[in-house]
Amino acid sequence: MRLSFVSKEVGNGLRRNFTMTVALIVSVAVSLSLVGAALLLSAQVDRMKGYWYDKIEVSIFLCGDSSVTYTCTGSITIEQRKNVERILDTLDPVQNVFYESSADAYAQFKEQFAGSAILANISPDALPASFRVKLDNPENFEQVASALQSVQGVESIQDQRKLLDRFFQILKGLQSFALAIALAMLFVTVLLVMNTIRVAAFARRRETSIMRSVGASNMSIRLPFILEAAVAAMLGSTLATAGILASKYWLIDARLAPNLTFIPFVTWNEVLVIVPVLYLVGLGTTILAASVTLRRYLKG
């Protein structure tokens, strides 16, 4: 089979089956966009986890004048503070400890909310003193918590990871949702491919039966159909890729990143890695679905 002959047949087939082909392209584009979105979200979550887990600290708030927990009897004493420090020294996961006095906390707060009305309502000693503890791995929080929970002078222990994890859970949920819809759409795409091929095979049954009686091989009889599906899948994948790249360029880079400077966003490298996956999934499912259908409807 010569290439020009095959491409002529493919072009004819696509034109004849125009509406079906358009439906197929759109379906591939939509399902792959969703696959791409799910992958993008997962890359984004990974990136944020890496970035923020690195910055996570455990805050050990110390008793102040107004503390009411059973471990507090008024403000923490020097003796109690030394004790807390000693315990922290014995804990393996603790990498470094930073003491922030009530005054430091107020200064920090003043800087962060400079010019805001909140400042007026906060007295300089309202913010508790704390130890900021950095762990080798944020997962080891429990070990620190259990060692310090009932020590005199410690009011409360806060794990920043808990706050993040709730946020990540929401993102994960979103990601699973996108993936579920993507799978459903892929399934629809497979059905659409099967139907398109079935209709095309029926419309061209005369042609294929003539080809067969002239001695065309199964491969050369099926190839135009498979190439037609592949061309449609190619176009669909390209649309989906364009969508993903556009959302990186116009949404993430141009709008989100400048406004949300505290969030690290996926890099171009991480986005570009998704592209071949989209083409592979798009072409793979389509060609597979087409081949299976042809095996049934174009028996040799």
Binding site: M1, R2, S4, F5, N12, R206, E207, S209, I210, M211, R212, S213, V214, G215, A216, S217, N218, S220, G300
Partner: protein, 230 residues
């Protein structure tokens, strides 16, 4: 060239065999008419030669190849070695005369150059060189059948099978087709043709194999249709 050895064909959804222990030998270069009533098994015999069907028992040999045992992947190459003509022409409606004949060559991977060289000659042979760029719908039945013949013969097959090629044509047009088949036969191509056409069979004076209910009831050199034992 062709040998049937005790060949039977029993279709699944029928209770009488379409072919019943057929023995038949056809030499290279022969011209054989398959005649007999409707349903006597002529098309079934041709279908076995094409491997469109497999024999239920017995062996069909074509050019040294055991057709029944031919693996599916070798069937296309096997079919390329022969030409086939049907009663309903089976031309591709969207393609011109030239492209329809070219299709037979394209499908087996002939180059554009070979195609452009070969087709004018073959269209000239079938007398359609003037109408190369017409569509099948713009041709008469006889002309369409000549296109089909050109396609079947374009690759110079050793064997040409024809199932009622004149079945849809009037007598004078049929004569034209038969002349063409005779010319093709004289190039050395073996021809097996199933037909009901008494006039043609009588006129051509070729070998006649007559079938009835799946049996060969007469096999006669240079025969006449009417001269049966019945």
């Amino acid at each position: 060239m062709i040998n049937f050895d005790k060949v039977s064909k029993q279709y699944k959804n029928s209770n009488t065999p379409a072919l019943n222990e057929i023995d038949l030998n056809i030499e290279q270069g022969e011209f054989v008419f398959l005649v007999g009533q409707s349903g006597s098994g002529k098309s079934s015999l041709l279908r076995l030669l094409l491997k469109e069907e497999k024999p239920t028992s017995g062996t069909v040999t074509v050019d040294g190849i055991n057709v029944g045992k031919l693996p599916n992947r070798k069937v296309p190459a096997f079919r390329r070695s022969m030409g086939i003509v049907f009663q309903d022409f089976r031309l591709l409606p969207g393609k011109t005369v030239f492209d329809n004949v070219a299709f037979g060559m394209e499908v087996i991977g002939k180059s554009k150059k070979e195609i452009e060289q070969r087709i004018p000659a073959i269209l000239d042979l079938v007398g359609l060189d003037e109408k190369a760029h017409r569509l099948p719908s713009e041709l008469s039945g006889g002309e369409q059948q000549r296109v089909a013949l050109a396609r079947a013969f374009v690759n110079k097959p050793k064997l040409l099978l024809a199932d009622e090629p004149t079945g849809n044509l009037d007598p004078s047009t049929s004569v034209g087709i038969m002349k063409l088949l005779d010319r093709i036969n004289r190039t050395g191509t073996t021809i097996v043709m199933a037909t009901h056409d008494v006039a043609i069979v009588d006129q051509m004076r070729k070998r006649i194999v007559q079938m009835e209910n799946g049996n060969i009831i007469r096999d006669q050199e240079r025969g006449m249709y009417g001269h049966t034992g019945h």
